[in-house]
């Protein structure tokens, strides 16, 4: 006979304000098998746990139901409490009467009814609970960092520093990411390359770090501590091990009209190219979309001039498989293309540029060698208008609902740099709000206004109208003086919103992690677990989780590294005992479960069986490797015969919960 204890938590007023907890405890006391039912103000507190422990001993309980918050919060707390009182921790069930009840209902009567039903379902389930014992699985002492921007580099360096092997997978031919394209950094105005490139070199030189540049993740299998990842090394038609990065091929390449993505297409590169001088690895790549040899089979000049014979036109994509204990996602961001905003004339006026394009126009390695010139006629601009929040804080389909966070600061930086270098240039900044929280940030912005005389105007630009004389008429409203303005500008700079990289969504699918509606990765807890994803063993670094500036990115990158190191330090991790198992007498051997298993936990064997008709038959039956199974339950749903079942969430347990709710 079951002896079940029910414990209803008030959670202060979180539950008790909407749910009549005393009525819940009283109603559940009448359920079959329940020997004690009581309520308490904070069940998760030390004294609340003591109450549970004392009841287990006093009433010799065989099962415990705690009606409280989500099992994500305190299931572990109560399992441990039960274990310390001598009850198997898997005989504890949580009825979530907070997130799924008190927080979403307003009426006390209906919320109380629902809490009782949820409690009844948990009691019905605990009747069928069985004691489970957790096993252990080893941890592979190697980490994978996806993305080689400043976030990925910092994470990799920190993990390597702790003594673990790290692989960086970067989709571009070089690591460095967006920071490599930036000219100067706020709020100190030091050169981005000067602080980034030492880190890039450090990563390349570190013996513990392997960089897979021009590579992508093509498959992820496994689980925390034991991921198996297939890395696709895209063909760059240059042997990485031979190329010395001398650059002779790039000088001789006859195909010189390829838009240079590193300079945002503002100048051209050759078909065989090294993205920029400090690229890591400094290895040439051939762009198959433009290479005459790869397209038409005619040319071969780079191959002739290469003294080490590194050019290989026959190279194909290669696949490398590697095991990892932890994975850090650092896929970063991209500015949106403002071509949907016809009012800003970006698509047809070359002198309307984005902020990242301006970074390149001002950079010494940029198209103009560091002199700020208009893209259209290469003349020095005398009036520049900055437009803030292009696509940010936007409530329509064209833009993003969120604040991109970094634009206020980099625009202040741009304005200040331009006024410093070209004092004859007038700079206007149109803003909705200026948001500068951060150490030394507001001081920085005030310096732009007060010391450098940048004209900050609260208001939005309504229309950007390129005129035939080369000037640009910027029509805007000044909300503080309530005036309509027309500014005769030479250049317009759009502070475009940033969005997660397009590779993030398919990656999230492979990693079985969650994303929000904007495709930013979702952290396990917005306040308390900001660098972990909800999937164990997957950590988040940098702007893939939300808009961030460099200091924040680096801080989060190191935090993600610390979490990964914490995992890699362990020799083994406790497995989840809620794993699937197959009833061999029912199994058809059809492979449905094997096909849906994301962890490769299911294998088949031919076994001899004594059949009901007293014959002996060899049958193909499934068997689950409990060390690999993660208890997702996909197999139990796919199994046509119902042979697959999940410990702790058996088909009969789920059905009895449903029955209890429907009764």
């Amino acid at each position: 006979m079951q002896r079940i204890g029910v414990f209803v938590c008030h959670c202060g007023t979180n539950i008790a304000a909407t749910v009549d907890v005393k009525a819940v405890a009283a109603a559940l006391a009448n359920e079959p098998g329940v020997v004690i039912s009581q309520d308490y103000q904070y069940m998760c507190s030390e004294s609340g746990q003591d109450l549970v422990k004392a009841s287990i001993k006093e009433h010799n309980l065989t099962g415990v139901v705690v009606c409280s918050c989500s099992p994500r919060m305190h299931e572990n707390t109560f399992r441990k409490a039960a274990a310390s009182a001598g009850l198997n921790p898997y005989l504890v069930e949580i009825a979530n009467i907070r997130e799924q009840c008190s927080w979403i209902h307003k009426e006390i009567a209906s919320a109380t009814d629902k809490a009782i039903v949820l409690g009844k379902a948990a009691i019905a389930k605990v009747h069928l609970n069985t004691p489970l014992t957790a096993g252990e699985s080893p941890v592979v002492k190697r980490a994978l960092v996806i993305g080689g921007g400043i976030a990925g580099i910092q994470t990799a360096l920190d993990i390597a520093e702790a003594g673990f092997e790290v692989d960086i997978v970067e989709k571009e031919p070089t690591i460095g990411g967006k920071m490599a394209q930036i000219d100067k950094t706020f709020p100190t105005l030091d050169c981005a390359a000067c602080i980034l490139t030492p880190k890039m070199v450090e990563a390349a030189q570190n013996e513990k770090i392997t960089i897979h540049s021009f590579s992508e993740i093509s498959d992820v299998k496994g689980f925390v501590g034991n991921f198996t990842v297939t890395i696709k090394k895209k063909a760059r038609y240059v042997d990485e091990t031979k190329c010395t990065g001398c650059g002779l091929c790039t000088e001789k390449c006859p195909m010189k009209k390829v838009p240079n993505e590193f300079n945002m297409g503002l100048d051209n590169r050759t078909a065989v190219y090294i993205p920029f001088a400090q690229a890591v690895p400094k290895v040439a790549s051939i762009d198959p979309n433009y290479c005459l040899m790869l397209k038409n089979g005619k040319c071969g000049i780079c191959s002739k001039v290469c003294s080490v014979g590194a050019i290989d036109y026959k190279q194909t994509d290669r696949f490398v498989e590697q095991k990892y204990g932890a994975i850090v996602v650092a896929t970063g961001f991209n500015p949106i293309k403002p071509d949907k905003y016809d009012e800003f004339a970006y698509s047809w006026c070359p002198d309307v540029v984005t902020s990242l394009e301006l970074e390149r126009l001002m950079n010494a390695a940029g198209p103009n060698g560091g002199t700020l010139l208009r893209p259209s006629d290469k003349k020095h601009p005398h009036t520049i208008v900055f437009v803030q929040c292009v696509g940010s804080r936007c409530d329509d389909e064209k833009g993003k609902p969120y604040c991109s966070k970094i634009c206020c600061m980099y625009t202040a930086k741009h304005a200040m740099l331009i006024r410093e270098k070209y004092p004859d240039t007038e700079v206007y900044v149109f803003y909705i709000d200026v948001r500068t929280p951060g150490k030394n940030f507001d001081e920085f912005y005030r310096r732009a206004v007060e010391q450098y005389g940048v004209h900050y105007i609260k208001g939005m630009v309504g229309k950007v109208n390129p005129k035939s004389d080369g000037k640009i008429d910027v029509q805007a409203s000044d909300l503080l003086t309530n005036e309509q303005l027309h500014i005769d500008a030479d250049m317009v700079v759009l502070a475009t919103a940033i969005e997660p990289d397009k590779t993030a969504r398919p990656l999230a699918t492979m990693l079985t992690t969650q994303m929000d509606t904007n495709d930013f990765f979702t952290e396990a807890h917005p306040k308390l677990r900001p660098v972990e994803s909800a999937t164990a063993g997957i950590f988040l670094s940098g702007a893939c989780q939300g808009p961030k500036d460099i200091p924040e990115t680096v801080a989060q990158a190191s935090a993600a590294a610390a979490k990964a190191i914490g995992l890699l330090c362990k020799n083994s991790i406790t497995c989840n005992p809620c794993v699937a198992h197959s009833d061999e007498m029912m199994c058809n051997g059809c492979s449905s479960c094997e096909k849906v298993c994301p962890y490769g936990a299911i294998t088949y064997e031919n076994k001899e069986f004594r059949m009901p008709d007293r014959t002996t038959a060899i049958r193909r039956v499934a068997s689950v490797n409990p060390a690999v199974c993660q208890g997702c339950g996909a197999c139990t749903v796919a199994c046509p015969s119902g042979a697959m079942d999940l410990n702790g969430f058996s088909n009969s347990q789920i059905m009895s919960e449903v029955d209890a709710i429907c009764k």
Partner: protein, 323 residues
């Protein structure tokens, strides 16, 4: 054709390629042949039949037969080869133990449709243009040929043999069938009309289990309807909705694996158009995930147990609405 088949079967028995032959056996009447295994030339000569009434899909029997000693010869019609392939995909049939001869398919005839014309005492049929000539104990009768064609053959999806070791006749091609016409009609009904249609049909069910027993997708070692642990085993229907439960559960169980062979409808003693439930699933799978034919090949994964990033979101069900 029957003679060619018997001749070839005898050859394969004689040279030891196979030790058994799976085909159809003559019944008491001209139209009630049934699947059977033959072990000798004499048995073949005496009982083997392949005519206008040999509709039964033989592939399901090969699950057990392919596990016995020696190799078995199976004569498969095009539609049967789809079921055969699907069972191979599910590792239910041991391919090495089966020698498949592909034979031309239908159209086969449904004797019930002939009897419905008041024609009894049938001793044989023959086709004469668009007319079916029926010999009976009481003289010769005629009826339009197409009116006697069985349901499964009148909406034939394919005459292609997708798996065989040798062929009698040609390989055949996939047909442009109108098999979803009736499903579309049902879809265009209101929810109430549709409910009434199915309630009317399914309440005829006598739970004889013939549809399940004949279905090549229903091959579980222990069927949920026979498993007391499943909670739905052999329950007498408590209300009119439970009359639907059996068939709805069965349609879900075979979804993505049903090749649309039509055997369920053929064997139903109370003439429930069960194939329409399965066809609805097939039509939905086609529209959600792109064209998919279960059993068409040995490599394509069923979209219901495979994931692709381009798969439709579950919200499509909500967006499409219930009507």
């Amino acid at each position: 054709m029957q003679e060619t088949m018997i001749k070839r079967a005898k050859e394969l028995l004689a040279d030891g390629t196979v030790n058994r032959v799976m085909g159809w056996k003559k019944g008491e009447f001209a139209y009630d042949s049934s699947p059977a295994v033959f072990e000798s030339a004499e048995e073949l000569e005496r009982d083997f039949v392949c005519d206008d009434f040999t509709q039964a899909n033989l592939s399901k029997y090969l699950i057990k037969e392919s596990r016995k000693d020696g190799k078995i010869l199976a004569f498969l019609k095009p539609c049967d080869t789809y079921s055969f392939n699907q069972l191979l995909n599910e590792h239910r049939i041991i391919r090495e133990n089966v020698y498949v001869i592909g034979i031309p398919g239908g159209p086969k005839l449904d004797v019930e449709k002939i009897k419905a014309k008041g024609i009894n005492g049938i001793t044989g049929v023959s086709k004469d243009g668009f007319t079916l000539k029926i010999e009976t104990l009481y003289g010769t009768e005629t009826m339009p040929y197409y009116e006697a064609v069985s349901e499964k053959c009148s909406n034939c999806k394919s005459k292609l043999h997708v798996e065989y070791d040798e062929l009698i006749g040609d390989e055949g091609t996939i047909l442009n069938s109108k098999r979803f016409e009736m499903v579309e009609k049902l879809e265009n009904m209101t929810a109430q009309e549709r409910y009434d249609f199915w309630q009317g049909e399914l309440s005829k069910c006598i739970r004889c289990n013939a549809c399940r027993n004949v279905c090549p997708a229903c091959t579980c070692e222990n069927c949920v309807f026979d498993n007391p642990k499943s909670g739905i085993a052999q329950k007498a229907a408590a209300d009119s909705f439970e009359e639907q439960m059996y068939h709805i559960i069965r349609a879900f169980h075979v979804a993505g694996r049903c090749t649309d062979c039509g055997e369920c409808t053929r064997v139903c003693p109370v003439n429930i158009p069960l194939h329409l439930l399965n066809r609805k699933f097939i039509k939905d799978i086609n529209s959600f995930y792109g064209e998919f034919q279960a059993g068409a090949d040995r490599t394509t994964k069923c979209p219901l147990t495979d994931y692709d990033v381009n798969d439709c979101e579950p919200s499509i069900v909500h967006e499409r609405g219930v009507e």
